[in-house]
Symmetry: C2
Subunit: 330 residues, 2 copies
């Protein structure tokens, strides 16, 4: 028991956002809820809540800061991203709790405990599913032809820091997702942020797009945004960019970005966006790990073997950002 204890005042979970929708004209079904249960009629016509978002708020007994860190995961993932790593090490959520920060781990709309809605009745489109092959290449474990259905035969990039022996455990975390629910997602994330006086957002991949969208709406509530390999950049008008520029941004990049065409594009789009923020007087720093001499990070720095070191660099940057009190005194 070498780890410090985590002393919590409370653990509170809740759903925010969402709206009531009504389905009509659906056929009736007779089902058994378990193989041996008596059959009963299920009527799909009726009311549903759609667009809600699940969050779990860990509240420390003695937090060092009254500003919680909100963790927003990426595409085809859930809040599990921030918990125990696939090879059983503490996740960033546990690490930050041990550093004295309250954390809020959420599942995006339509994923995990946030639930999802019937399609095409409520959602416009069918979901996407992530294969192991897709993740191997897209998450930059290795080249596409380095994947094998035999785990022992997989060939990761040299110096790969992701615990590739547990790659299938990462795949067990994947969930289906849609690409047509951006408005509902932004609304629910905005409601989540609005439930706090002030927050820091640490967002991964697709979550970064949501974080920047929400920052444009609620800049006064967001002390800083940490974007871990955002999947590109949101298209923003001048007013949105100006609002976003009031929120300090840290971008974090792993290794091998030039080895996948999508990442080369996402990264250059994000850099271009950050330059617009800087042109408006904003803080937009890039922590490019390979440029710092830290090689081998995948798309999942919160799971890589140096996840604690990367988090320390993030925490160091956060410590340099002015708190609200300082900003107000200014």
């Amino acid at each position: 028991m070498s780890e410090t204890a985590i002393r919590l005042r409370d653990i509170r979970s809740f759903h925010v956002g969402g709206q009531t929708v009504e389905l009509t004209g659906q056929p009736q079904q007779t089902v058994r809820v378990s193989p041996d249960a008596a059959p009963r009629t299920v009527d799909l016509n009726g009311q549903y809540i759609t667009g809600q978002l699940y969050a779990q708020h860990f509240m420390l007994e003695r937090p060092r800061s009254d500003v919680p860190v909100l963790f927003w995961h990426g595409g085809a993932m859930t809040g599990v991203t921030w918990e125990t790593t696939p090879d059983g090490r503490p996740g960033w959520a546990q690490m930050l709790l041990r550093e004295g920060r309250d954390v809020v781990v959420s599942d995006a709309v339509e994923r995990g405990r946030s639930s999802w809605s019937p399609y095409p009745q409520i959602y416009d489109t069918a979901p996407l599913f992530r294969t192991a092959e897709d993740a191997w290449y897209l998450f930059r474990m290795g080249t596409a032809d380095g994947f094998s259905s035999d785990p022992a035969a997989r060939r990761p990039f040299p110096r790969q820091r992701f615990p590739v022996a547990r790659f299938d455990q990462l795949c067990a975390q994947f969930v289906p997702r849609w690409t047509s629910n951006a408005d509902a997602s932004i609304a629910a994330y905005s409601e989540l942020v609005s439930g706090f006086d002030r927050v820091v957002i640490v967002a991964h991949s697709q979550g970064g797009w949501f974080a920047q969208r929400v920052a444009a709406q609620l800049p006064d509530r967001i002390e800083a945004i940490v974007l871990l390999e955002p999947a590109g950049a949101p298209q923003m008008d001048e007013a949105q960019l100006r609002a976003c520029a009031a929120v300090p941004h840290l971008y974090v990049w792993g290794d091998y970005c030039d080895d996948h065409p999508a990442w080369a594009t996402y990264k250059s789009d994000a850099i271009a966006h950050s330059e617009k923020l800087r042109a408006l007087g904003g803080t937009a720093s890039h922590l490019d790990l390979p440029e710092r001499g830290i090689r081998g990070n995948s798309h999942m720095p919160m799971m890589d073997d140096n996840s604690g070191d990367v988090l320390s660099l993030v925490s160091d940057w956060l410590a340099t950002q002015p708190s609200r009190e300082a900003a107000e005194a200014h």
Copy 2:
């Protein structure tokens, strides 16, 4: 800050169970992962993990017992069942942690953070969705015609203890579920139980069916099962019944069971099953709340306004059951 602190040695989450499946012959798709992102090709052919189960293990600094309580939710729900109630009170998970019990909150296979798989490619059937109307009647908030789309116009049963003003917050917790994944679910739950030396299982509704199935396979690992309104009883042969009879059972029943035909049947089926366990020398007690003079409980006793009182009765019963040490000394 009136609540006692929760002092944790660690919080560990993980997926157990599941297997690798391969999809072939699926069409390629070009997608944008967010509305402004560059398009990329998604190939659905490839490997998936299916049948895995997510669990979150809260490990106290100083547990009073080395036997954790595993919470298994019911149909169309997730582990959120055991967390903060829809009206913001502590859930049974937090209550038991404060009582000094380690708890493990899991999502059933195919639900919540456990993820789900494409159908009909991997799952045989389409999912079921739960409407507010269905839940109102089935969870015994009131009669079917007591539901209204206008929350203020809903008519709950007299003495209803569920916080009906927050009924829509309960509906926000619902997730789709299948009725064709029993084998995968039992396999994953068995693997979850096998990861511990000894456990107590507290199971709700459909979860009770899984708990009894797993008890028949792993009776030596299960110190007791608490069945909160199980949705009927598993069909078991003599050997399975005999294995199950080695595990003490407590059944808990709320009010209004005669006001819904499914519950009248489920309850009588469960009582008949418990009589078989007793005939084999097993302990199978029924905590019938209305018979005890406790009126007004819905199908969700862990959320009703007397949830703490019901948990105390459950804890009292657990305290009367022999621990393994006592059983081995016997």
